[in-house]
């Protein structure tokens, strides 16, 4: 049987591979262009018009040099370029008296490329595209192509300028203390934000492309001499293996490169905060930045990254320790409070102290549903409210919260449909979910809550623990780019464990985390502990001031 399956799989794979390669051939128009391409300007422009169709945003402007020796054409996408730059620094110098004065006798088709590039046009970033396909691809990123009659190569000027969102505070990850700069949709801005934070020669921004039709830029950011090279190789390999039409958000990439895509737990960390991203790079991790989205991905990651916030590292460490323990507690509440409540109310009433049991029993009197149904109903309603609150415009959102809070909370209790204790449980759970810093981790908890409630309704606490053990088996088996997901709690060193649950003082963190297998473990010098001003020196300054004072007197 297994052999038959593997045979089938092999066959299928073969088929799939076959299809994709054919498709690739068909999908790649570049070859066709290359064959028909010719250095003659007229033919080239015809070819371009044929290939690109009647798109109004593509501007083709033909002109000739001042001495009438060279025919040229400029090609750009309107809206992606700075027009003034093109007018002032490409077209004008070529047509101006400047050419007449200095180059009129020399400028001809055969040396136009070098002269234009080196002497005439005045834009800092110029590239030579070897063929038309490449030039067109660059044009779609906002560059301007300068076609020269009779010249195979094409000059491509960097003139990118489009309407971009300003760098603002990241809305999904606000912080009291720390940088308020969040990433934007423009990749270049984002890399600049990183460079501004890490001014070191070894910060590498490695560029890749993904998405056949979207041609999305993907940048891997890392520090060359810290990072584990095996991890980097693996990330590169997985991203290069992506062969898809479109990458519109980093979420696409996340799904393509995850170790276990079926898992409900996110195996990549995601952030909008520039400072958090920089910190991750300095920890020896790799950043995957995708154009057109402010959300960058961090690999590898572990489960306990989700109880850490960047603010922990800015405020006093004491509060960070307390907050992390609190978040761990809150994580448990968010996952299993309703389930535990249902289990106790249905199966283990003896576990509650008698007065509490009596008050809950009194509150539940007249509620027509069993506790499981009640819990599932309330949790479902809460999810609906939440979803409505996210999607609706802000003005209507107010109405939703009034309807939700008043009608569903208050009226349903008065009508005797749900017990007040259940509303409290659901509300506490909801708030706990919001208290977690990582949104994508709380999604997993929100979903897992429901099966746990059902298990609790079936088998009581045994069912809850049964469910938790299933989650644990799953988590223990997960890996994120070779790092066990439960590390450093499982499979980690003691110092990593301490660093995860208790943020040490900065002068104590001499080493980076062991779990990543980095090249460079040393973070800083070790002798920066608490130092007092030498006693004698203090005496001296004191004496000095006194003498000084005395002298005055």
């Amino acid at each position: 049987m297994p052999s038959a399956f593997s045979m089938l799989r092999k066959l299928l794979k073969y088929k799939l591979a076959d299809n994709s390669s054919e498709e690739k051939q068909a999908g790649c128009r570049g070859d066709a262009i290359r064959q028909e391409d010719s250095p003659l300007l007229e033919k080239r422009l015809d070819l371009i018009r044929k290939r690109l169709g009647e798109s109004k945003d593509i501007v083709i402007r033909e002109f000739s040099s001042n001495n009438n020796q060279v025919k040229l054409a400029i090609l750009y996408v309107d809206g992606l370029v700075d027009r003034r730059l093109i007018n002032d620094h490409i077209i004008r110098p070529i047509q101006s008296d400047f050419v007449v004065k200095n180059f009129s006798h020399r400028l001809a088709e055969k040396n136009a490329l070098q002269l234009l590039k080196k002497h005439i046009t005045s834009i800092s970033e110029v590239a030579e595209a070897a063929n038309l396909t490449q030039a067109i691809r660059m044009m779609f990123s906002g560059d301007t192509a300068l076609l020269i009659n009779g010249e195979e190569k094409i000059l491509v000027y960097s003139t990118r300028a489009w309407d971009r969102r300003a760098v603002t505070e990241p809305e999904t990850e606000p912080a009291v203390r720390g940088s308020r700069e969040g990433f934007t949709e423009t990749l270049r801005t984002n890399t600049a934000l990183l460079r501004r934070r890490i001014r070191h020669e070894n910060l590498r921004l490695e560029s890749m492309k993904a998405g056949r039709r979207t041609g999305t830029d993907v940048v891997l950011a890392y520090i060359n001499d810290i990072i584990n090279p095996l991890t980097l190789e693996e990330v590169r390999r997985r991203i290069a293996a992506i062969d898809t039409d479109s990458i519109l958000e980093s979420g696409y990439i996340e799904e393509f490169i995850e170790d276990v895509p079926f898992s409900i737990f996110p195996q990549l960390e995601r952030t909008e905060r520039a400072d958090k991203a920089a910190a991750a790079i300095l920890d020896g991790r790799i950043l995957i930045m995708v154009d057109n989205t402010p959300h960058v991905l961090i690999v590898p990651t572990s489960f306990f990254q989700f109880i850490q916030a960047s603010e922990d590292y800015y405020e006093r460490p004491h509060i960070a320790v307390v907050l992390r323990l609190l978040r761990l507690f809150v994580l448990n509440i968010a996952l299993m409070l309703p389930a535990a409540y249902v289990a106790i109310i249905t199966f283990h009433q003896e576990m509650l102290p008698t007065p509490l049991l009596l008050s809950i029993a009194a509150a539940r009197e007249g509620v027509p549903f069993p506790a499981v149904a009640e819990a599932l109903l309330m949790e479902a309603i809460f999810e609906v409210l939440r979803e409505a609150g996210v999607r609706l415009p802000k003005t209507v959102g107010q109405a939703v919260s009034i309807v939700g809070g008043l009608v569903i909370g208050d009226a349903s209790i008065r009508a005797g449909l749900v017990s007040p204790s259940m509303v409290i449980v659901v509300a506490v759970t909801a708030i706990s979910t919001f208290a977690l810093p990582a949104f994508n981790a709380s999604i997993a908890l929100r979903i897992l809550r429901f099966p746990l409630i059902m298990l609790a309704g079936m088998m009581g606490l045994y069912g809850v623990i049964f469910g938790l053990v299933i989650i644990l088996i799953h988590l223990a088996g997960l890996q994120s780019f070779g790092v066990p997901y439960l590390s450093p709690l499982a499979h980690g060193s003691v110092s990593d464990m301490l660093k995860t649950f208790a943020r040490p003082f900065w002068w104590m963190t001499r080493r980076r985390a062991d779990e990543l297998g980095l090249q460079n473990m040393k973070r800083q010098a070790g002798n920066m502990g608490p130092r007092k001003t030498p006693f004698a020196k203090r005496e001296l300054t004191h004496d000095n001031t006194e003498e000084h004072d005395a002298g005055k007197r």
């Binding site: 509650l352 045994y462 623990i465």
Partner: protein
């Protein structure tokens, strides 16, 4: 290789610790107390020391046959057929001990928590989890264990700590009143449970540093002995030897006595959580050993095909081996120590040890070098 994962010495020690402490602290105290009376703690302290002999034998054999599990080197030592017979005996042993653990848990659940639910629900659902963890492999079990060990140890210490106000140390007197014999007899009970470190004979070749096996085993034995002794002292100090010997699951009642300021009370659920987590790891380890053993005896390429049949056998055994709790208790007290120690924990390892020595010293066979391909 059937198992691709590797576990560190620390993880090995933790696995050995959990496989012993998970059941011994829940069941053994009452059995020990019924035999040794006031001196139960002495028996709990002495018993596990016997196990050091087993540990020495296993690690010695493991060093002689690097890269091989007990199922493999029994064949190397005793020849094909006799070796396979010994290996199968061990497979049965792991199944039997695993089934007992599952049964203990099922009985605990049905007698103390959910008396209307049939025991098969607990046994089979537990085995379902264990089967999954066996499929995902030793490395994942070890990782889960690192998580669970924190839970178990902290909960046990919490229970013991909160019960401190109720302790009456007078119950521990008179000391040594009945002489050494009952103490030694009772010491066999914890020894029988600590003999569970025989699983080291299976997981030793999967350690990252097999030379640390002895250290890991010793640490596990000492840690669990300490915890067991504290538990036995606490139980004797609260119930007295007579009362604590009359319950099969004294820790459960022990937790019920906790009452601090009317708030910290009703700790039974904590006991249940702890025990379930512990039994899960313990059964997974034994189940894993049995499955790996059977796969190696049958020369299979992977463990997968034997997991389901073994699980069904385990579940059936756990239900049909004993008629009720009393029979289970009697078996654990009167038969199990002699059966497991004489056969699995001491008898067969001694046999393998002796034959290895004889073949080496008298016949000049050199073990250790032939196993290069393993």
């Amino acid at each position: 290789m059937l198992e691709k994962g590797r576990i560190s010495p620390r993880q090995t020690g933790q696995l050995l610790f959990i496989t012993t402490i998970a059941t011994v602290i829940f069941i053994a105290p009452s059995l020990i107390a019924s035999l040794a009376g006031h001196d139960a703690w002495l028996a709990a302290l002495l018993g596990p020391m016997f196990t050091l002999i087993t540990l020495l034998l296993i690690t010695w054999l493991g060093r002689k046959h690097p890269g091989q599990t007990i199922f493999q080197y029994s064949e190397t030592i005793l020849g094909k057929w006799l070796g396979k017979a010994v290996a199968l005996l061990y497979v049965w042993g792991f199944l039997h001990i695993g089934a007992m653990a599952v049964r203990e848990f099922g009985d605990f659940m049905t007698t103390s928590f959910m008396s209307h639910t049939p025991i098969s629900v607990f046994n089979f659902s537990m085995l379902l989890l264990c089967a999954w963890s066996v499929l995902v492999g030793l490395e994942v079990i070890a990782r889960m264990n690192e998580f669970i060990i924190i839970l178990i140890v902290s909960f046990l210490l919490l229970i013991l700590f909160f019960s401190l106000p109720n302790w009456e140390l007078d119950y521990l007197l008179p000391f040594f009143a009945r002489g050494p014999l009952p103490v030694l007899q009772a010491a066999l009970i914890p020894a029988a449970w600590h003999g569970n470190i025989i699983v080291l004979a299976v997981i030793l070749p999967f350690m990252t540093r097999p030379t640390r096996a002895f250290l890991a085993g010793t640490a596990a034995i000492f840690a669990s002995t300490t915890l067991l002794t504290i538990g036995v002292v606490g139980m004797t100090a609260i119930f007295g030897p007579e009362l604590s010997s009359s319950f099969l699951f004294p820790l459960h009642l022990f937790a019920q006595t906790i009452n601090i300021g009317q708030i910290i009370t009703r700790f039974e659920s904590v006991v249940m959580t702890t025990w379930m987590a512990g039994i899960f790891i313990k059964t997974s380890v034994f189940y894993y050993c049995a499955a790996l053993g059977l796969a190696q005896v049958l020369n299979l390429k992977e463990v997968r095909p034997v997991v389901l049949p073994l699980g069904i056998i385990l579940g059936t055994l756990s239900i049909s081996l004993f008629q009720d709790v009393t029979m289970l208790g009697n078996f654990l007290k009167e038969t199990r120590p002699y059966y497991t120690i004489s056969l699995y924990f001491l008898g067969l390892p001694l046999l393998l040890f002796a034959v290895t020595l004889i073949r080496e010293k008298i016949f000049g066979v050199c073990f250790g070098e032939q196993t290069n391909e393993a």
